[in-house]
Symmetry: C2
Subunit: 428 residues, 2 copies
């Protein structure tokens, strides 16, 4: 039985109990959420000792870091280092998006070394393999797509992005209602190319039941991808995007009926004033399934700083109800991220998630800030540094600029407000 089937039958699995403990909620709250589909507890049943991750309604907002090679930049050692950095920076999950070099070997290494759940986009491997062996991705067969997903399931991958909502009708909509930036999802484009070349419907949509069979076998969580997400502000919340979302809403119910857990992927590039609407639409159309957003980026013009444009959008989205934030690194739109980019991306995303959790009233969120601010009041620098989101950076910045007094910093020096006012307010 899958976790969702268990939950529906009133049973609480070990994983649900573990997630409940981590979130300081009742196991029954998790079971009910999983049964209804508004919470997912992600863990492949073949994945050995791995901490299952709870994502969804009432839980702490989670973040994901994308790593992986490309054909233009491929080093296994670097990716393993990115895995380590993203975990020590505090990511809740990692997706391996490798498209260059020995992608199987890379994935297996990542799977064997990661303490957090792992996600993948199997269509990348299927497409890259077809390009290598058959000359072009158009020649991959539907069977190869499903076999690749099965392979990922067998190996223990916990969740997979599957762009099931990219349909022939969606392509028609794209043609009728021209976009400024067409399609920017790699998986989406692989499928669109394949569909146009082969004049066939998307196998992941057409044979969705076959996908559900695979998912059920490994208790694989399906992350229904947004192949038609907007790639710029001008395309946000347009017909193609909403059409795809409606398709995902239908597939969500079919997945739930089959006992398969689902999360819904969302945009992308969205102006601030449309973010809440996007979250509400997803919750309505997909019946409360957890929402996994990429950013969203609130402006198109800041390459080099898209971890910040994404943190702004992510904080607003999570406050409005998004459950899972995919990080964006400073290198987005420019290059494959470096190790340092990965660290910056995770931190920015973590800030967004935590700030939203405070706004949403998630248990333990504001309490952490209050404890921290007491240390600030007490000029407890060691406490501040070790309890900050990135102790290493905080320590480096402070020690690079040495204050004359040990209990202050070089911003105010002897005129430290916190130190002065404490004394004065005590006087009558």
């Amino acid at each position: 039985m899958t976790k969702m089937e268990l939950a529906k039958s009133g049973k609480t699995s070990e994983e649900m109990i573990g997630v409940a403990q981590e979130e300081s909620v009742d196991p029954e709250f998790i079971r009910q959420g999983v049964a209804e589909g508004v919470i997912v507890v992600v863990r492949n049943n073949r994945h050995g000792y791995i901490r299952p991750l709870g994502i969804g309604k009432g839980l702490r907002t989670k973040i994901n870091a994308n790593i992986g090679t490309s054909k233009d930049h491929c080093s296994i050692e670097e990716e393993i280092e990115k895995l380590g950095v993203s975990i020590s920076a505090g990511t809740d999950s990692v997706m391996d998006l490798s498209t260059g070099g020995p992608v199987r070997e890379i994935r297996r290494k990542i799977l064997s070394r990661s303490p957090v759940i792992i996600g993948t986009v199997p269509i990348y491997q299927a497409a890259v393999t077809a390009a290598e062996h058959k000359g072009h991705i158009d020649r991959m067969s539907a069977d190869e797509i499903f076999r690749t997903i099965e392979e990922h399931g067998e190996e223990g991958v916990d969740f997979v992005t599957v762009h099931c909502g990219v349909t022939l009708q969606g392509i028609e909509i794209l043609r009728e209602h021209e976009r400024l930036l067409d399609v920017v999802s790699r998986g989406g484009v692989f499928l669109i190319e394949w569909m146009i070349y082969n004049e066939k419907e998307n196998p992941l949509y057409q044979d969705f039941d076959r996908l559900l069979d695979i998912a059920r076998r490994y208790d694989l969580t399906l992350s229904l991808g947004d192949g038609l997400r907007p790639g710029c502000l001008a395309d946000a919340t347009d017909r193609a995007q909403i059409h795809e979302l409606k398709t995902l809403g239908e597939l969500t119910e079919r997945a739930w009926d089959a006992g398969v857990q689902v999360i819904i992927e969302g945009p992308g590039h969205v102006p601030i004033n449309q973010i809440e609407k996007n979250v509400k639409l997803e919750k309505e159309i997909c019946k409360g399934a957890p929402f996994y957003v990429l950013g969203p980026l609130v402006t198109d013009i800041a390459p080099g700083y898209d971890h910040i444009t994404g943190a702004i959008g992510g904080a607003i989205a999570a406050t409005a109800g998004a459950d899972f934030l995919c990080y964006v690194t400073p290198s987005e739109h420019l290059r494959l991220p470096t190790i340092e980019d990965v660290r910056e991306g995770v931190l920015a995303s973590k800030i967004a998630a935590h700030a939203a959790d405070i706004a949403k009233g998630v248990k333990g969120a504001i309490e952490r800030d209050n404890e921290f601010s007491k240390m600030r009041k007490n000029l407890d620098w060691e406490g501040q540094i070790s309890n900050s989101l990135d102790p290493e950076k905080a320590k480096r910045m402070r020690t690079e600029s040495v204050p004359v007094g040990s209990d202050v910093c070089t911003m105010c020096g002897e005129f430290c407000s916190i130190r002065s006012v404490r004394e004065y307010l005590k006087k009558s």
Copy 2:
């Protein structure tokens, strides 16, 4: 006549026309806004060739960069370099907050070299001078405070922060309703110390008319400081903060009656779910006077990343109606910012302001993103780099990671979605 007096009498000054041109609005729109107090056109009438800055209702969101020495870290050359970096990064104004070294000389240098308006906090100089010459800031006289403000006006400073809302009653409220982090505003604390030691009311409140006389003489814009702003999330929107805001609301009307332009300073540390409320309260209590927020920071626990916590808060505040964002640098709470911190701070704040302008529908904002996204679609890398918010960083990041194909990047390489889909969507 001051600009506000001119505007009230139906006249449009050169400065108003200049601001109207920059904002692509009618000069009459600016005149009316200045007459009502909902727009300020900031420029000291003694300040020579300086671009006046319009801030307020219907205009582009502006940003400010704080620079200046401290006693623990003082280098004039470094501050001049920070001035240059903050301007090339796109700040709209600069505040010199120097408290260390020859503060007069530093201010004069900054005034003579800046192409943008300059703000100061005269109480810093008054307090530091009293500490140096009289042994303690408590011994400064009310007269010295006003004379320092006059000196800044004479020299051409365009706007000054004056913490007029810190009152004896405010101190009582602080004592009765204990805060987690007391008072974090340096100017606020100088005045509180002075008031408690001398057992006297705040001269800037008590003799507000004297301040208005000085402001009128130089057409100095008063930035009514928030000495009691919350220094941590737990203290946000509390009694002390709101009491001060109400005092500022009363003073705003007195300033307007005297023909003096006013902006209102706001917090600080504020949870996301309280930001909009804070903006609405300011607009209501201060009758639509432009709102100048510091951040706000949406979590307390991210020293090293407060440019990001501030960009999240700033974007939300500006979307809700804040007009002017004071940047926060990565070094906030840790040290005096370095030159690189200043650059990062300005960029983060600029992203927040621009994203909010898109959401608010400010003229020209989304248009810039759309032009940019067309370049992205056309794989026009030179265009993207030179039109991005930080061309230097975008170029460096791209050139550090060389793609095999000249028209793609190392993220996707030959599998570039944008390039592929363009071709396919044309096929029938």
